[in-house]
């Protein structure tokens, strides 16, 4: 059973209740990751999980909880503390018939592995003209808002999106988490799977217990609207939904677009929404300058400029380092800032 949805904009609920299924479980995002991993491991014995503390400990966010008991230490591998080594060995495995899922404990610790991701994982297929490829998933929690110490709050998705050869997937709810994870694991190319840790356990949703996928490259429209498009991904989708709710109180109809995968990008869905509403606000946690929001503005400029009623706005992190816990609330985009941006362009 797959949940491949035809036209995301036909599906105002983000596909959550659109999928008929025999049974569901109420899961958080973290649990959906765990269930998704377990399902894929059960389905395909080439799938293995590796990383720091993913085994006995079950992951620092419990996203791999119980897997080692079920699948054993040969398939759930507690590695030494070395991100470059994790990704490098995973590449060697992926090139020789396994389908490794490497966990990086926090996105702020992926930097040592960027060499392997940029110079090898992303390029293996093209530089060997298809002789080798790297069916690998690199999972990592990302984003701020959990009052964590430094290096635990980054949103560096733009790095990966700017790297051809790497798919970038970012779920915003439990249903999509499991379905996108299945697609990522089954994909023949390397996928960076970014998990919005701020909402890892923020809410539960009904998630099918059966096998299903959410395809890569398809945006969702969790809320339809007419006046403005709020475009975001990950934890910011909920901020946008909250803003839309508030705006609705003032009679402003905001459409929320959840990109879900940044590469491949569902450009058509994105542009369709902007063409319809004529206004767009892009919301992301990453620093503004050269963030992925800029790319969206550029695409709108190239393909829908004449439909714009006002300049596209970006509500983003500042061009600063992500602050420690005591100031992080000032950094993160908020409902208020989104609402303010919407009002600004409606007044334009």
């Amino acid at each position: 059973m797959t949940a491949q949805r035809a036209n995301p904009s036909e599906d105002g609920e983000g596909g959550l209740r659109a999928v008929p299924t025999t049974s569901t479980a109420k899961l958080t995002i973290a649990q959906a990751v765990r269930d998704g991993l377990a399902a894929e491991m059960a389905r395909d014995e080439r799938v293995i999980v590796m990383g720091e503390d993913v085994g006995v400990d079950g992951g620092v966010f419990r996203a791999t909880d119980g897997l080692i008991e079920r699948f054993g230490p040969q398939r759930v591998i507690d590695t030494p503390l070395a991100e470059d080594g994790i990704v490098a060995t995973a590449i060697g495995m992926a090139m020789s018939g396994l389908r490794p899922i490497a966990e990086i404990q926090f996105m702020g610790f992926v930097y040592p592995a960027l060499n392997q991701i940029f110079a090898h994982a992303a390029r293996m297929r093209v530089r060997t003209r298809g002789r080798f490829h790297v069916p690998m998933v690199i999972r990592m929690p990302f984003g701020g808002g959990i009052h964590a110490p430094e290096s635990h709050s980054e949103s560096y998705e733009a790095l990966f999106v700017h790297t051809p050869g790497i798919k970038v997937v970012i779920p915003s709810n439990p249903h999509d988490t499991k379905g996108l994870l299945a697609s990522a694991i089954r994909d023949e190319d390397p996928v960076v799977f970014l998990e919005p840790k701020r909402i890892y356990r923020a809410f539960r949703e009904a998630v099918p217990t059966d096998d299903y996928t959410v395809p890569l490259g398809r945006a969702a429209v969790p809320r339809a609207g007419e006046d403005v498009s709020l475009i975001s991904w990950g934890a910011m989708v909920r901020v946008c939904l909250d803003a839309a709710q508030e705006l609705a109180g003032d009679g402003i109809s905001a459409e929320v677009v959840d990109l879900r995968t940044l590469n491949p990008l569902d450009r058509d869905a994105l542009l369709a929404s902007v063409v319809k509403t004529g206004r767009a606000v892009i919301v992301h946690e990453a620093p503004r300058t050269a963030g992925f929001g800029a790319e969206i503005v550029a695409l709108i400029n190239e393909h829908a400029l004449l439909h714009l009623e006002a300049p596209v706005q970006r509500v983003t992190g500042f061009d600063t380092v992500f602050p420690y816990a005591r100031l992080e609330k000032h950094y993160l985009p908020t409902r208020e800032r989104v609402v303010k941006a919407v009002r600004a362009i409606l007044d334009f």
């Binding site: 720091e52 503390d53 085994g55 006995v56 400990d57 079950g58 620092v60 507690d78 590695t79 030494p80 503390l81 070395a82 991100e83 470059d84 080594g85 702020g108 610790f109 930097y111 040592p112 009052h147 964590a148 110490p149 430094e150 290096s151 635990h152 503004r288 300058t289 500042f318 061009d319 600063t320 380092v321 602050p323 420690y324 816990a325 005591r326 100031l327 992080e328 000032h330 950094y331 208020e336 800032r337």
Partner: protein
């Protein structure tokens, strides 16, 4: 001569103070009673401070905290060996030695409470900031040691890291640089048995961590890290070597993290109570206490006084923490560059307006 030996080596382990408090007189470093008493006091202060911080976290008055309980000797012994002008390059579990090297306790607390001002050490405190990305500080210590040498300073850079940190490529590159350039750097690995849930044996197949020095052609030594005299003696030797231009040393201090990895961790998920109990027997503070008692230098009354004094000092640090003004949101921007560029000015102004409204 076709199968010849081209390299031979031995790694030694140094122990001076046995768990029962008895010392090996032949190896005992020259410390006077005041120094030994000071070691003890420092270790007790660390413990009280650390336990209090854990409590603060449980009460919601502190962010995530990484307890050092059990590792007091590894930090106090190194601190005592260091000269005033030596530099400390910590990882993230070194609050003990950071405070001994002059970082105000309330700043350490502020750091873990989520306030960048915790790393704004007073002038003259020769300590690098806490480094969270595991292993990333080793190279700073190597570069600092090279720089001290290049500028003809006598000071040495004492650089800390954990057992888990030895698996990172940074460790390798840093020690290799230090070896090639004979950096004035001493690398201290606090091997506390665990890197979160991964035991030392899962981290590397080498019999000791000290032998990793052999890869860089530098001396390596293992010490009982719960034996403050062994830690002190090994550090003195290493500092001496660095100061005389003979290059870096790797010290593996074998100790144990008695607490959780951090307050966000539950060590019960991955290790046994028995293991923890066995290590409690080897508690570095108990051990030095036994020695002091046997020497007639310590008694219950003094212990009580010390406990009081330590509690008072810790309270004063918490008061200082809580007396800090709230951090200024504008600081997010203010320290990004020596001069603030126009786009940051704009962003800062918008935040200031938002906060004011």
């Amino acid at each position: 001569m076709p199968r010849t030996t081209v390299f031979e080596s031995v790694i030694e382990r140094l122990e001076i103070l046995a768990p029962d408090g008895v010392v090996d007189e032949g190896l005992m470093p020259g410390l006077n009673d005041d120094q030994v008493l000071e070691l003890y006091r420092n270790m007790v202060r660390m413990r009280v401070f650390d336990e209090k911080a854990v409590k603060l976290q449980r009460q919601g008055r502190m962010g995530t905290w990484p307890p050092l309980k059990g590792q007091e000797a590894a930090q106090a012994g190194v601190a005592l060996a260091m000269s005033d002008d030596d530099w400390l390059v910590p990882a993230f579990r070194e609050h003990g030695i950071m405070i001994l090297r002059g970082v105000p306790g309330h700043l350490v607390l502020a750091y873990w409470a989520g306030d960048e001002r915790g790393s704004a050490f007073p002038d003259g405190v020769r300590c690098f900031p806490i480094a969270v990305p595991v292993g990333s500080q080793f190279g700073h210590g190597a570069g600092l040691g090279m720089s001290l040498g290049l500028r003809g300073e006598q000071a040495v850079a004492v650089t800390f890291g954990g057992d888990g940190a030895t698996s990172e490529g940074d460790f390798h590159e840093a020690l290799n640089f230090a070896g090639v350039f004979k950096a004035r750097t001493v690398f201290v690995i606090q091997n506390n048995g665990w890197a979160i849930s991964v035991p030392r044996s899962g981290q590397t197949a080498s019999a000791t961590l000290a032998q990793k020095a052999l890869a860089y052609g530098i001396p390596g030594v293992q010490v009982d890290g719960n034996d403050v005299f062994a830690v002190y003696a090994a550090t003195m030797e290493a500092l001496e070597r660095a100061r005389s231009g003979d290059g870096p040393t790797l010290i593996e201090a074998v100790t144990y993290r008695l607490g959780d990895h951090t307050t966000a961790d539950d060590a019960g998920r991955y290790r046994t109570e028995e293991e923890v109990e066995a290590w409690k027997e080897r508690d570095p503070i108990l051990r030095l206490g036994r020695y002091l008692q046997a020497r007639g230098l310590w008694d219950d009354a003094r212990e009580e006084m010390l406990a009081e004094e330590a509690a008072k000092w810790v309270s004063s640090q918490i008061e200082a923490l809580e007396a800090m003004t709230p951090p200024d949101p504008a600081d997010i921007f203010r320290y990004m560059y020596a001069e603030m560029p126009a786009n940051l000015e704009e962003q800062m102004r918008s935040l200031i307006e938002e906060v004011a409204s």
